[in-house]
Subunit: 332 residues, 6 copies
Amino acid sequence: MSHRIVCFGELLLRLTAPGRERLLQTGHFDVHVGGAEANVAVSLAQFGHAVAMASTVADNELGEAATGTLRRYGVDTRHIARTPGRMGLYFLSTGAVRRPSQIVYDRAGSAFAAADPDAADWPAILRGAEWLHISGVTPAIGPNGAAAAQGAVDAARAAGVKISFDGNYRAQLWANWDGDGPAILRGLLEAASLAFINERDISLILGQSFDDRDAAYTAAFQLFPRLDTIAATTRTQYSVDHHAIDAEIATRNGHWRSRSHELVGIVDRIGGGDAFAAGVLHGLLTDMPPDHLIEFAAAASALKHSIPGDFNLASVADVEAAVDTDNLDVRR
Amino acid sequence: MSHRIVCFGELLLRLTAPGRERLLQTGHFDVHVGGAEANVAVSLAQFGHAVAMASTVADNELGEAATGTLRRYGVDTRHIARTPGRMGLYFLSTGAVRRPSQIVYDRAGSAFAAADPDAADWPAILRGAEWLHISGVTPAIGPNGAAAAQGAVDAARAAGVKISFDGNYRAQLWANWDGDGPAILRGLLEAASLAFINERDISLILGQSFDDRDAAYTAAFQLFPRLDTIAATTRTQYSVDHHAIDAEIATRNGHWRSRSHELVGIVDRIGGGDAFAAGVLHGLLTDMPPDHLIEFAAAASALKHSIPGDFNLASVADVEAAVDTDNLDVRR
Amino acid sequence: MSHRIVCFGELLLRLTAPGRERLLQTGHFDVHVGGAEANVAVSLAQFGHAVAMASTVADNELGEAATGTLRRYGVDTRHIARTPGRMGLYFLSTGAVRRPSQIVYDRAGSAFAAADPDAADWPAILRGAEWLHISGVTPAIGPNGAAAAQGAVDAARAAGVKISFDGNYRAQLWANWDGDGPAILRGLLEAASLAFINERDISLILGQSFDDRDAAYTAAFQLFPRLDTIAATTRTQYSVDHHAIDAEIATRNGHWRSRSHELVGIVDRIGGGDAFAAGVLHGLLTDMPPDHLIEFAAAASALKHSIPGDFNLASVADVEAAVDTDNLDVRR
Amino acid sequence: MSHRIVCFGELLLRLTAPGRERLLQTGHFDVHVGGAEANVAVSLAQFGHAVAMASTVADNELGEAATGTLRRYGVDTRHIARTPGRMGLYFLSTGAVRRPSQIVYDRAGSAFAAADPDAADWPAILRGAEWLHISGVTPAIGPNGAAAAQGAVDAARAAGVKISFDGNYRAQLWANWDGDGPAILRGLLEAASLAFINERDISLILGQSFDDRDAAYTAAFQLFPRLDTIAATTRTQYSVDHHAIDAEIATRNGHWRSRSHELVGIVDRIGGGDAFAAGVLHGLLTDMPPDHLIEFAAAASALKHSIPGDFNLASVADVEAAVDTDNLDVRR
Amino acid sequence: MSHRIVCFGELLLRLTAPGRERLLQTGHFDVHVGGAEANVAVSLAQFGHAVAMASTVADNELGEAATGTLRRYGVDTRHIARTPGRMGLYFLSTGAVRRPSQIVYDRAGSAFAAADPDAADWPAILRGAEWLHISGVTPAIGPNGAAAAQGAVDAARAAGVKISFDGNYRAQLWANWDGDGPAILRGLLEAASLAFINERDISLILGQSFDDRDAAYTAAFQLFPRLDTIAATTRTQYSVDHHAIDAEIATRNGHWRSRSHELVGIVDRIGGGDAFAAGVLHGLLTDMPPDHLIEFAAAASALKHSIPGDFNLASVADVEAAVDTDNLDVRR
Amino acid sequence: MSHRIVCFGELLLRLTAPGRERLLQTGHFDVHVGGAEANVAVSLAQFGHAVAMASTVADNELGEAATGTLRRYGVDTRHIARTPGRMGLYFLSTGAVRRPSQIVYDRAGSAFAAADPDAADWPAILRGAEWLHISGVTPAIGPNGAAAAQGAVDAARAAGVKISFDGNYRAQLWANWDGDGPAILRGLLEAASLAFINERDISLILGQSFDDRDAAYTAAFQLFPRLDTIAATTRTQYSVDHHAIDAEIATRNGHWRSRSHELVGIVDRIGGGDAFAAGVLHGLLTDMPPDHLIEFAAAASALKHSIPGDFNLASVADVEAAVDTDNLDVRR
């Protein structure tokens, strides 16, 4: 079976303090599987697409559980390699009121970070695929990650597979090694047809500042001839659990902006951006007109904030309902 | 001991995904006992009234637990029959933010739905009662339910017991059999002194549309000479966990409307209508003037939204405090 | 090791119904250690200060656990005596929407209330200390408590240790014995350099009413020559989980008022006042200018509302971040 | 409705550390309702008898929950008075392997202990009853308890109601006041038709020692002419979770001993004696021959060890199955 | 991808009272996915085989979760149809000591029971398979189940796929309709190469009694020429949580019996027989000699008793370790 | 305050699958703090000794929580350094029946393993101490650990502090680097007065085999003139949750062996050896005669098996009760 989308990146275990506690305030963790690209994969599978995940996990029960969780949600996991080592972890203390959520990363030395960048059989993995989705997290992990991301992109270009790139700049990760972040990310962006970046990302990658978002987008379209579509969300935060988001999509033909979604009583904010990326990809895969596409993707991101864990478990029908209606009463 | 109120309807087990999860996102259910009429019974018992529940449950541990739960909260359960079969269930995934709560019903073929409509000894059950409370859910279940509801109403009329009828139109249930919903409900409404219906219910039952709520109420009072009182709430939904409700009561002598209650951070919305019905019945049983009665009933419904499970476990003092004060700080 | 601050008061166990349930709606309690003065001690220890708790607990596993919990958070517990008896308890049903939280006290006859008021070796306990922090809860408990509080204050005066006094008037407790509350509290206030009181407290203690807060403060400064600083918060309640607080500090040289913090989605409101007191003491101990001090203390109180349990587990950096920024997004 | 059995004693809340932890090793308690006489009442109600509980609870949510729990299990709770005060508590750390379970009592000053011994309207409570069941715990609580127990017994004698008395000697409780335990218990035993006592209890009450159990029984039958039946269990402990029990019943006509039940993997040992007492009372109420009666009662006690909480929730059918069969496989 | 094994049967949701409680003693259920044939499928997938499940689930979130759970554990779920209706459920109260576990079935009217017996495209499902595994539970469900089981078997015969048949006689299910159980099961057994039956099953199917197990096996081999292998376990029950099991395999060439496994502290007994069946199938698929095969299968069944839920999540290495060693200490 | 005992080693977080599940069978971990030497420290603190822990933890919330947990249990934590990095973790799936418990280590690259071996100010740490306790785990971690352990031992020798050494050979850890395990351990053993080693440890360190335990002990006493005492337990495993242990102590003057403790229904086996070591140290610190000392230490180890987590939370009284009595019934 060929896949319309292949996602490549690290699977992580997230260990969350329960009930808005601080880490180890009591001795329990709730565990979810996540990772920026895996989150996109799961959401696209919920939307009914054939999706494969390419990754490397630790050859132990934790790696098996992470892989099985993706499989549960319909992602093809045959291209997830298993090597000796450890799983990347992150610890999350979910904030509230005016205390921000806090992440403690523990992903150094993971099986993914240590994986041989040339080990993946990309021609086989990408056979028949329409899109390869990657993010700026993978190259930030270290030299292996940077080489692996570039290798995946090169293979996709060679195979005629379009590239979706989520900027996801993480200063903390880049600080751990001496990679030239902007240059490496630029290498990936050059290959992309679709990019999830905003003016800050573009400034950082191009090393120049812009007056406004439009100017940044114009510069990106000029410099990167393969780039067709740029998408980004804008988030306003009134309180830790009360945000508003809207979203924008820009092509060489125009800009479209979604309605704003008021997000009251947020359950889990992690993965909101990945849910948006999956929404945009779904729109492109199903040839939505851009004005509906951006509404769909924004609603997908809004819905994610209501679901515990990193994954957006909403179906297409769930998202379309969130686009179309303000009837929020119990569905019976 | 005679009862001032008898409630007749099905006891259900509600299986809720914990913590705003989707169903079986993790392998746990929280279980509550509910059912529209049982919810009214429990609330009236908390208000200090002598209440009996008439129903049929499965002759197994689940039926016993459902019955025992009503008894815990002070409802007389001697008129709950036990027959072979299954308990009606419903699965609830509590929504959040902009994802509505979702109910999956699993109540087909329940012991209640299969019960012989003539089995109940209504004269004994109703002896000394002032009110019989029923709802539109029971006839919607199927021919047995419809016959049982009509039988209960006929017995109450014969015994001089006033009838309280909650419209509770559930299209999904009526779709499962070929009963003529409007005609059957009209049969029940004709017997009622008190009805919890709004203009949509009246339109549906009468098969005509109305310009506004007042016109609908006027028509109902004209067509149904036994009807003394109509009560309804109005709900505005800003977000899944942020509503506002107010309530209205209409008699042949006038209309009264409550203040609006802002409901922020809703814990459990299920049973909000039943809590209102119990509040109105309490007002009538204690001869409250209508302007206070509607404030009491609206505050009862508002309080329900703060209590996990289907039951409004508030006392009269709790409700009166919610009517009278805006001091919401910790009570010590 | 000498301590900059000694806190004296009762340790309590708080038994909380889980998940916004009413008490024993299901058969579980979450247990936290608290007590007005212990809460101040823990917060000051999180801020990096050397703090000792002086108290008496039951000589059993519960008393040991309460003591150990303070020690976990860095409080010196060597001056917590252990005597036969019971631990003071309180049961908390956390409210929601428009249902206020409710406390059922069960602290009569505790080891602390029964403790010999002369048992503490105050010179040893206070050696090297800068501040003694007490509250109006201790004398309210009964004659032993009143004598113990006065004894502690006398010892502090003799040792040149400044006194911080939190009014904390609890009518329910004073109602249990025939102590002259205003007179006893006045005795403590006379010794204090720092008082957490508002115009209601002052009116009550002085037995006179005031036109406004300023007038009350002026009267207090006139009557109590040792008093340098008065601090208080003002709380507005829009809903049980949605408050706003700001804070004010008054010295003989001026008044300073903090920004207002909007508190949406409150997790745990208990201990908000104690977190404020610890914030003020931290500001005084570190010689903050009063305009920043009051912002720090208000932000500390605001943060507490996001943390389960009675303690404010925030660090100085956490509080300063809450003062300085409105960036509430995930910290990674 | 008259009751065949009235049980009189204190309702307690048991707070148990979860999962074999020590008290407050983590911050959770599981809560069960118990009390020696309440346990008997619930078990008899499960056996289908009409049972009323006579007691006094605190006039708060905890007392209400304790009362409601008995009602859930079919006990008539109309004779449970509610007075201001506190609920008696006990904290349980369930042992394992070679660490015994440990109870910390916190029942001093409870509403029950403080209750006016003359407040109960015994003629009304006992009307139509066949048995009054009490235990040696009630007089051990203090002078009020001792007077109340004697008052209940006197009323039962006057009303021709037989008395069932469970010795339940608790040295710790008697140590808290200067009551003459043996004399007080003797007063109760003199009135009893049925006594749950063994040779140690008899020695203690009579102040003499016996060569063996038979000699003790003989002495008791001689001294107490009303006494018809003595029953007791014998427990062998191989490990904290592995016991064996058998039981014996003695009348003036003979002795009968049950088979021994090997109890492997004990879930909850509390209430095992009360389950036995209920089993004996059921046997007497249903005129079982003594050889079957003692098997039934021993099996009831054995079953209790498999059920979390203080109550034996087994039905007559469950107990008879445990008497008759060694088929322990899943019942489907 | 072709599968070496196809399992056909119903997926069930099991709702278990937590912690050895009775059903709804407290309001929680732990939920596991199960079903005799699904259990075999999951175990074989853990052993590394390509396994497909053929079934029908309800077209709702519960059916999706059941399907996803099998997929998580590596079972191909593409042949699980989704139709409107309900999921079959069963409620489990796990016993202890001398109280047997109790199952309340709630599977009448499930989507599987109502499924069109001719809907499955068996040639496609069975393409390339070596084994079809079914059980006696499917025909017991009702006429559709009986027809579906026979249809599957006929298709397998036509396709040259060997049939594995687990007797699993459930009198309760057969009692719900007028099917001729023995005749229907005989029809399935006639087609089987491998049967999990003991002397009681054979007696029932053949309608004759046997002196011993050997005589029954001999008769079965004579009557059913396609039958190559019969396998069965023998279970001794010392207490609810303490069993011993051994196992036997018989072919036309001989009998082999495994060592006996002492099972102390059983965690979950459900699925022990299915784990055995998967062990035997694994042995046949990997051409184990019969003496090792029966040790492997017995050890697989023994291991299942240590794993919560219906599935045996042990790997081949786990099982081989349980065959070979008595070193039970922590593996680090 | 000086300490009678200093323990040096790594603090670990243990993440345990709940309820005998496999890792991530459901998404929860219970978290405990552990580490061989920390376990000894906590047990000695429970026995009333002044104990300090010397270690290095990650400079984040997890390190703080681990440190605070030791402090809760009375260990002086001032000598626990905090450096950037990660906490060592291990994942535990608790076995049952015949499935052994399984540990997945994730401790590579921890802050402790990376710590500068010369950073500790040993003269200050050891000032006034009687014993330094270390184990063979620390040098096994890598070159830094080996250097740090030797440095600690050298400092202790220089300061006249006796050394307690627990062999704790972990082949898995030594396999991760090229250290010469036997030589390094021999260096530590040469310095020790007390060693927890058995004949296998001695064989490994000396590179020779012995006919029996006595011969090994004799050789050790000959080769290591500073060695006064050797202690070891012997464990027999009937099933994963049913062991028996006894213990032996050897000095240059004789051998003493404890009674055997039957351990039925083991709750948590981790830390059983560390509890034994703490028991021996307590015996030496309190000058117990060796025959009682070995009974005390064996009973301490036996008790540990009943307590969740890595720590033996038993008091001296608890242990003495386990030595002296077989009365295992509820203590009330």
